[in-house]
Every structure is written in C-alpha cells, then in structure tokens.
C-alpha cells in the first residue's frame, strides 16, 4: 500500500484531484505557503478552490512547526467536523514536513481515518517528510511523540516551490539529502558528480519509498532513515536549529563517537557536493550539553525496553548499522568526550 509519488505540474495535480473518488476535498495549507501561492492556487490550471464537481474546504495552518500542537490539532479537527464531512472525503496537505505531519494526523483521526495526499513545498518534505506516512505532533517532552502511521495516497512533487523557499530552509533540507548519500551508493555518486538538485530529489524520494515499502512500521530497515536523528532531535531543541541542519550535526556526532574519521570526511565531501555549508558545530567553544542531550534521548521514540536506544551509524556507504546502546553508555561516552567536543571541528 505505497503512495503514488510523482513529479507533477499544477495542471497534472489538478487533473489528479478532479479524478479523486470523492465529492469533497479538504485542503490543509501552511499559511506562509498560502501567502506566496494563494493567488496562483486560485486560478487555472490548478484552481484549487474551484475543482470540477467537488466541494473544497480550505484550512490554513500556523506556520511550520508552530502548528504541531494539540491545541491547533483540535482547531483543525473542529473546523472540518463543523462542515459535516464524511469518510470518503480526501484531505490534501500543502506545505513542508510540519504541515504534512499535522495534516496527516488530522486525516488519520477525522472519523477514525480518511484518505489523504501531499504536495510538499520544501526540499526537506520532498525528499523525506512527505513520504512514508509518519504523522505527528510535538509534545512538551519532545518532537513527534504523538501521532500515527497513515500512508498518503499521492505525493505530487513540484520543484517550482523551491524557488520561494527561504535559503535557511533550503540549507536545512540539504541536511536530510546528505543523509541519503550514506544510505545509497547511487545517491553518493550523484553528489560526487555534482548532479542537479532535481535529479537528487527524485533519487532520495525513490530511496525512501523503497525502504518504507519494505518496512512500514519501522521494525527493520526503516530505522536506517534515523541516521543523525537521535542526537539531531536533541540538538534541534537545545540550539533551536532547523531540522535538517540538526540532522547534519547529529550525523557528525554519531560518526565522531560511534563511527570513524572516514565518515566524517565523507560528510564534508557530501556537504560540498550538494552545495551546502553548515559551518561550525553549534556546540563549538561552548560547554557540551551532555545532560540536556541525555534528557531528550531518554524520551526518544527509539528507546526500547530497559533503556536501550538503537543508535544508527554506517559501516560503508549503502550499509547501515544499528547499535543498541544503553542510555548509561551513551551518557558515559558523551561525558568522556565532553572536553574534546568543545573544540571539535572537522
């Protein structure tokens, strides 16, 4: 039960929307995306609010991650329920990963689940967040701790959206893109030959789709997509970093402490190959925040029985390794390297 993932123009998206087996489409759009594109969404060829023979209910979310709270979730639910929707309604999310996380959880919760599709508008969403059916809200205690698995029917990728993407978001997306270089020899090669971003996006989306098809509920290979995320999520909270940027630094940490220097070198090579520049580690010349990192790692969804966390690292490009490690051990390693990390760069 995979998603149909395809590159699509506005015209093609409109065609697909019109052929959906429903009389009602629920659109959930990031308000910032609406500011940029609202006008062009309302005229041909997309003409989102005036689809053939279909009612459309439009809901604008708060910008990005700020919408992923239970309070906003309730507003979204009640907005659509007030319209008197039914189970054949189809929901369409338009925005970055936060929007699809939020909208996907809405779709999975409305009337115990309605079908949905995504139009990702950020690099990060095109290569990662919009694919694979993970939905989620944030908790006081960590990111995405509340949510569901609910596979979208369609993912329509239109790279034209990247033209208006703020540079820091484009940079952040490159963090997730770099991750795929470690998971796939093919994508690593694309970096080496400085392939066009468009080609890289397609390869990453396909790679993710392939992994998810084999392991929807993350009991095996899907955990490889978590490379850089265990420490990344903690860094994201501690330093208020964009997601992909924190994944980049999460990979740096895991390679430094559980990998080897070849991988660190490759990390910088990939960074250059994809035209990114993440600069210096956020912890450079500061006290390395061991306690705070442990606090977040403890609440990570990947922690298993008896305080074991499955760290993900790389053997060789294309071959990941799951390293089950006790939280105590993680703390010990961080504590031991604390002073070294203060001045660590690569």
């Amino acid at each position: 039960m995979n998603s149909k993932i395809k590159k699509a123009t506005f015209e093609e998206i409109a065609e697909d929307l019109n052929s959906l087996d429903t009389d009602t489409v629920l659109v959930v759009v990031d308000s910032r995306v609406w500011q940029h594109y609202g006008e062009s969404f309302q005229k041909e060829p997309l003409n989102l609010l005036n689809l053939k023979n279909k009612k459309v209910h439009l809901y604008k979310t708060l910008e990005g991650e700020t919408t992923k709270t239970l309070l906003e979730f309730e507003k979204g639910l009640e907005f659509f329920l007030e319209k008197g929707i039914h189970r054949q309604c189809h929901l369409v999310a338009i925005g970055g990963g936060a929007t699809s996380d939020f909208a996907g959880y809405l779709a999975s919760s409305l009337l115990r689940g309605i079908s949905w599709s995504v139009i990702p508008t950020t690099l990060l969403a095109m290569v990662d967040a919009s694919i694979g059916g993970k939905t989620g809200l944030n908790s006081k205690h960590g990111k995405n701790l509340i949510g569901s698995y609910h596979m979208p029917v369609n993912v329509w990728i239109n790279e034209a959206f990247l033209e208006t993407l703020p540079p820091e978001e484009l940079a952040s997306g490159r963090g997730e893109v770099i991750k795929y270089g470690f998971l796939s020899q093919e994508i690593s090669d694309l970096f080496k030959k400085k392939a066009k971003l468009s080609q890289v996006i397609e390869a990453c989306a396909r790679k993710k789709e392939e992994i998810v098809a084999k392991d929807f509920r993350e009991r095996g290979e899907r955990v490889s997509l978590n490379l850089g995320h265990t420490f990344g999520h903690a860094l994201e909270k501690i330093y208020d970093l964009p997601h992909g940027t924190s994944v980049f630094w999460g990979m740096a940490l895991i390679f430094k402490l559980w990998g080897n220097s070849d991988h660190l070198e490759l990390l910088r090579d990939f960074e250059k190959g994809i035209g990114a520049d993440f600069g210096n580690p956020p912890w450079l010349n500061k006290t390395f925040p061991v306690d705070k990192i442990i606090e977040y790692v403890e609440k990570d969804k990947k922690v298993r029985n008896n305080g074991i966390v499955d760290l993900v690292t790389i053997k060789d490009v294309g071959t990941f390794e799951k390293v089950p490690t006790s939280i105590e051990k993680v703390e010990e390693v961080l504590e031991k390297n604390k002073d070294d990390l203060r001045t660590f760069n690569f």
Copy 2:
C-alpha cells in the same frame, strides 16, 4: 489480528500482565472505578501497582464520557510522555466504553502507537465497546468523530465488576445486548429462554469478535453493529440519555419508520427477556425534534458521498439490511411521521 477475549479472574489477569513482553505497563483507569476498586487493585492477587519486574504508571481519567475531550487527551499524553516511555510499553484500560475509547486512542497516538489491552467494567463495554479496536473522542459536533482503529491485544472480562455498576448503567448496557438479539438467532434464543446474563455476555462478545474479524474497517458486515445507532447518537445528545438506552430508542425509530411492527414487538420481547425496562420513548408527548436529529445525522460518520447515510435495519433475526438513504429522504420521512411519533408507543 484479533484480540484474545476471555473471562478472567484477578489472578488470571495478573498472570497475563506479568507475562507481557514489556518492562513498563501504563494503566488508564476511570476514576470512579478506582474509587470502588482501587484498594483491591493494590493487593494480591492483582496487585496492579506492584507487578513482577515491571514499572507501572497509573493515570486516572475523569468519569465516563467527560474524559473524551482533546483537552483530557492532551493531559493523558503528556502524563505518560513525561515518564519517558518507549514503544514496547503496554497500556491497559480499566473502565467502561468511554475509558477504552479514550485509552485506546492514547495507545494508538503515543509514539505513533503502542500495544494495549482492556479490562471492561461495564456491561456495555463487555459486550461492545471494549471489543473491536474502535477508539475515539467526542467533538463539539458529535460523538466519536475523532479517533482511530487500534485493536487491543487482550480483553479480560470479569463480571464481578457488574456488582457495583449503577443500575442505570446496567440498564443502558442491556440496550446494546438487545441489539445482538436482532443480529444473531443464537442470542435471540438466549433471550427467549431467559438465559443468565453471564451466558449472554459471552455470546455477545463472541458475536462481535466474529463480525470484527471479518471486517475490521467497517466496509461490510461490521456496519450491522450500527443498528439503532444512527438515530441513537442523535437521541443521546438531544435527550442526554445513556448510550445503550439511546440505542434501544434508535432501534424503535428505525423499526417504526423503516422496518415493520413484528420487529417492534420483538424489541419489547427482547427487553423483557433480558430483564430490562426502558419505559416510554423520550419524545413521547413532546414535539418530535426533526431538525435536531437531522443536524446530528448529517455529521454522523456513516454519511457517505453526496449526503447518503447507510441506515441499518433488520430483514429477519440474524439478517441485517443496509438501506442507503439520502439525508433529504430521512428528513422527509421524519417530517411526515412527526405528529404520529408524538404519541407513538408500542
């Protein structure tokens, strides 16, 4: 992927809990149930808070339906997330249908889904709500409009709980029990020979399990369990009735307007057979509330594309019928019978 449904003493439940493959059990218990049973839950043989080699986190919900709000849902989620739980945690719901609706949705949403089990403490939950994996919260716009499908692993039925159940709740549960008489010749026969409640409970739970096993996502036979519910949900809200009581009157309405007088007669026979007495219709000698009923029916989860609602009625005992009907038609029929219903009794 059915639940294991079994009658179980506290001793047997304790044994099963101790053998769960987890180091942590999350208990969600109705606060009224805790008042009655908290003490006996904390000593042998159950000794819930002191399970062998397991941590237990205990969360007490508000009483019954009042807990099924997004605000309470958020409190429950953050309570458990604050503990630093992991995906192998197992959640156990103890209470009536509202508690399992609420706790099941918690289990399906925590870390994108953890496993769970139920100990139903009301008649309604033993024969219906605890079985089949429907979870839910209430919306401003109707009951159970928010939720998920998430099958519990175990349902442990201990009829001792019925001894402390308030008489009106026992009566309400009989409304759902009567429904099964129309869906199963075997259960109808149990009513006729005035079988013990214990025997009836087991037959109803088995019947529901059988239906759900064939049709988890309600695309076919599971809709038969909705007998009495389309109007029942509206009556429940309008007259503030207990759930099973409103299902009884929902069946009366559907048989009167879309069935025949034999079924109405049978409804009263079953009522006597199971030792219930629902008295007079709540609308008797009042203006029949057509507009309000339509307002709720329009928002019912069973409404499909183009305003069609699948009414459920009975051909013969054991054979249900799905009657797709436009909301306009429903309104027309109610409007035509409005005056008649004012004095309708049977």
